[in-house]
């Protein structure tokens, strides 16, 4: 049974048949490169007196001078609407990817503590540096930080990585409607869980059929197949939900406005800004959305949340602006209100902000 799969971190956009960076790194370790002696506990690292301050207006990335980490925990103070993505990378391009598995968390304003496990991040390598990528508007201040270095022995590292990948919660992202994070059995040799469950099912069916056939002196595979299927499916279900439940929002649903405001997981500002706009715009308003060039998710999600109002993406210099699927087409002169999010362009003349989420996210309309 072929277990050649898209390597962890290669993402659904690339069908890499070659070994992943994870497997390559572990193989290198097996070949004799040994890491530093492993600490049994997290080790606090000293920070500057005010902590590590990361303001963000749009997005901001920081590559930390830390390599060879299994995990890192931080105590932080957050303000604004921000989300944090993390992993290891060798270049700025590597820090920007939202491909699978995309480890990210939305940080609520206030203080908190967060653990970041790096072994299960995209394209992890012990030779790459840790990065933090913020999106939104606000500030993250890391007040304290602890690191957990990798195990020194190759065998221990391999088993640590395997355990981490078996239990890591699924990370939901834009790609999840196509493929949920594949469950690994042993990431060190890229073997997956479900083929093993499949073989287990076949083995149980064969053994059960043999036993019942000998006992009843008649070939009757049905009961053995049924019990094996239910048992192994049940096992697979349990393993799946164990990893899936932490990713789900299981609160009792509030009203639709609250759910729009709080429910967007892929961007920290789209939900609150959409809710703000819905509260301040009239049902018949024709809306223009201003976002950075190429930021299709931002304007499309906002226009969707404002529908059935007519809504378009205001592109600089265009005579006519188009909305979702080109259904709406409006000139700037037809627009009654503007929603702007991190747009590099100023508000057109004649529009006055009526609601402000933050300095980069506003709702404006003609007086």
């Amino acid at each position: 049974m072929g277990t050649q799969v898209t390597a962890p971190g290669a993402g659904p956009g690339r069908a890499a048949r070659s070994r992943s960076a994870v497997a390559a790194a572990i193989l290198a370790l097996l070949a004799g490169c040994s890491g530093p002696p492993r600490s049994a506990q997290l080790r606090e690292i000293p920070l500057a007196p005010g902590g590590l301050v990361m303001p963000v207006d749009g997005f901001a990335m920081t590559m930390l001078p830390l390599e060879g980490l299994e995990a890192m925990e931080i105590e932080y103070r957050a303000s604004g609407q921000i989300s944090l993505s993390y992993g290891t990378a060798a270049s700025p391009e590597g820090m920007q990817s939202l491909d699978q598995p995309w480890r990210h968390v939305t940080l609520a304003p206030g203080t908190g503590r967060l653990r970041m496990d790096f072994l299960t991040t995209r394209n992890w390598s012990p030779f790459q540096r840790v990065y933090l990528r913020l999106a939104g508007t606000g500030q993250l201040v890391i007040t304290r930080a602890w690191i957990l270095p990798l195990p020194g022995a190759a065998e221990e590292l391999r088993e640590t990585a395997n355990r981490a990948w078996r239990s890591v919660p699924i990370s939901l992202g834009h790609y999840s409607v196509n493929l949920l994070d594949p469950p690994f059995w042993r990431v060190s040799d890229m073997s997956l869980l479900f083929p093993r469950l499949g073989w287990l099912f076949l083995a149980l069916t064969a053994v059960g059929t043999a036993v019942t056939s000998l006992w009843r002196r008649r070939f009757r595979p049905g009961p053995a197949l049924a019990l094996a299927a239910v048992a192994v499916m049940g096992l697979g279900d349990g393993l799946f939900w164990w990893r899936m439940l932490p990713a789900l929002d299981l609160r009792l649903p509030a009203g639709p406005e609250e759910r729009i405001r709080d429910g967007y997981r892929f961007d920290p500002e789209v939900g609150p800004l959409s809710a703000l706009a819905r509260a301040h715009l009239r049902p018949g308003d024709r809306v223009g959305v201003m976002v950075p060039p190429g930021a299709w998710f931002l304007w499309e999600a906002i226009c969707f949340n404002l529908a059935p109002r007519r809504c378009v993406n205001l592109e600089p210099g265009a005579a006519e602006h188009a909305g979702l699927q080109g259904v709406d087409r409006l000139a700037l002169g037809d627009v009654d209100a503007i929603v702007t999010l991190h747009s590099p362009e100023p508000l057109p003349p004649g529009f006055t902000p009526v609601a402000v989420l933050n300095p980069s996210a506003k709702v404006a309309r003609r007086p």
């Binding site: 799969v5 493929l179 949920l180 594949p182 499916m233 799946f240 929002d249 429910g263």
Partner: protein
Amino acid sequence: MSFLVATAALCASGVGLLGALGLRTRRWAVDVPLGWFVGAGWLGLAMLVVRILLGVPYTAATAVAVLAAPLAAWGVREMLRRRRGGPAPLALRPARWIPRPAWLFAPMALYVAFVVVVVALHGMNSPTETDDGYRVRAFAPLLAHADRWEPAARSVLWMAGPVPTWVPSLAWRLGFPVDHFHVNATVLATLLAFLALAVGLASDRGRPEEGWGAAFVVLSLPLLAYHVTTTYADAPLALFLGAAFLFLVAWGRSGDPADALRALLLLLAAAQVKREGEVLAGTLMALVLAQAAWRARRDGWALPRRLALLLVPFVLVLVARAAASGAARSFDLLSLLASRGEVLAAPAPASAAAAGVRPLLPLFADALLGLGSTGILYWVLPAAVLLLLPVAWRSGLLPSLAALALLFGQFAVATLWLFPEFTRDQTTVHRALLPVSVPAAAWLAAVVVAACAGGPPATVPPAGSGPAAPGSSGGSGARRSTRGGGGGSRGSRR
């Protein structure tokens, strides 16, 4: 609350249509969830004709008239039946609701309940944030509500299909506020309707194990469990096809043409979900009609005209969608097939030949067996087909297996030949498998339960030569009682 009102209205309309066609089972546990599917199909078809073909604006009055029409037709049918003084409907046989053994099915039922709660909560808490959702699937109902059908909007309708377009917008059209989460609720309601139909139908036929088994297997498909929390239409298409398969399986056993008619009605509804629905459901309708013709000839009963007449609304769906978006766009699959054929017919250099089907097979196998999107379904299914083929033959499950093979064949052609890039990069190949997997789960549960029950199924004659005896309001007529969980029935042979 508003969505519940719309759901009730849709179910009532669907039950009305079943009654007007003489296809009610007279078991509310079956007719209500069946009414959801049938009502959704009716609403989609009616709005295609009324709004797109005839140009009648989509108002509250239009929606109420469309919903009420089947109920009125049912009332007229009942009135005529009573005037003619036809025989009273035959008594229903007692259903069996508790599956056995309890130690096996109780955990399965708890699992089903757990998943339903979890996906319902997450689904209702999740605003649409994936691109195909807010560009097409969840956007189409908003366009329907705004009653905007300029050419660009019609292309959205063409992609989404009539059922996902008009069903979520029903509550808004009836006067309730626009709520974007009604799209999520529609998908979840479709899941609930499928589960209820699977359990209700199987219990009605004396085989509750089959219904709970199908529910358990369907909810053991990880990607489906996630998809029902989104606003994508892959899960609804899979569930509509799955509902049709429940009746295909039942028809294989009972030989009752009423079950074939119900399956065709459900396929007609499935044809209105996504572009792919037309192709998948259309080919299955053709297969079912061919099987019905063969069966009628073999068993010596007249092929009910209504079976063939159900092709008429299917053609209407095609015509209306072509009118909505243009003939060339409506049949882009044919032009795609033609263009692929031209490419294959042309002499290809060695490098191009290497980009053929063979390199895709390991990726195809990964999608089925390795990456976990469908759990271990495609490990269990081939084993069941190989080991339980004699049981399937004795239990009348071969025709539905043929239908399943047709679905799988179309999936294989699409992912290996028409759109290999999506197999190469492991994207849509997984959700393209969902419309095969839910019907497969229904078939698998049926054959496994039949195998566990043991012994050949009881043979009973079909219930008359048509869907219902003249003057009866029931759809299936009398059915012989069966014991336990495996006693099936099939048409008599002469």
